[in-house]
Symmetry: C2
Subunit: 150 residues, 2 copies
Amino acid sequence: SIQRAQWVKSITHCQKEHLSARLLSEDLPVDFLSSVTCQVCDHLLSEPVQSPCRHLFCRSCIAKYMFSLGPHCPTCTLPCTPADLTTPAKAFLKVLHSLLLFCPRESCRERVQLDSFRTHCLGHQLEEEARGGKLLEKSLDNFLPVNKGG
Amino acid sequence: SIQRAQWVKSITHCQKEHLSARLLSEDLPVDFLSSVTCQVCDHLLSEPVQSPCRHLFCRSCIAKYMFSLGPHCPTCTLPCTPADLTTPAKAFLKVLHSLLLFCPRESCRERVQLDSFRTHCLGHQLEEEARGGKLLEKSLDNFLPVNKGG
Ligand SMILES: [Zn+2]
Ligand SMILES: [Zn+2]
Ligand SMILES: [Zn+2]
Ligand SMILES: [Zn+2]
Ligand SMILES: [Zn+2]
Ligand SMILES: [Zn+2]
Ligand SMILES: [Zn+2]
Ligand SMILES: [Zn+2]
């Protein structure tokens, strides 16, 4: 229900930490898209864990969900405790980590693998800070007396 | 419904042509598994095509389905004609073709990529025929007069 969905969102608080599925190319098959998104928060799976019923969730989402709503699977309601959670099959993790995301910077728009996306974005941030630093230097140049040597 | 499911099976007739999802490693997440199987025949997708609602089917399954049951999507019943079908995104096809299947021969059990699985199995068949040929040669040796030369 929508009510439960809203309740779940108010539990997870992961908007700033997890990546949106909208970063993926838009024409992917819907069932494939939902297989790489968290069944609790709808973001791209972040550190996914698998229930005994083989449903997937972000590690942090399922922990918060169980703490608030009890020991069962959010997708199919079968019993599931934190101790029942396992790491998904390597073959699946490889698919997840190889997903190509579009960099949201307008000046870039590169396609970057999920597992190097954070590093890529950090690069933009550092560039910007460096540019900010240079701009600052330049503006200081205009105001500080220049020692022309000697 | 089960009735429709049986009706669909009696339309597709693809048991001998398509590959079973049971050839995949057993611990894959269920939603991922269903994203690589045909929504009509439940086999691993064979020459997949995508509806405008972004659901996937084997090319042959959706053709037979529409011919028998009309121009709509088998998964969500939205309108869909043969002309609306497109090729799925390359990123998805790469995932599908890279799936590792277990060779069902007891003497082999290798993990083989989906896109080279038929070649792999044909190899076994040729080996067997060659062995059969040798066995035949041997058994003929016992019955044919041997020309000991000279
Ligand atoms: Zn999230
Ligand atoms: Zn999540
Ligand atoms: Zn479940
Ligand atoms: Zn970028
Ligand atoms: Zn089939
Ligand atoms: Zn099919
Ligand atoms: Zn559909
Ligand atoms: Zn084999």
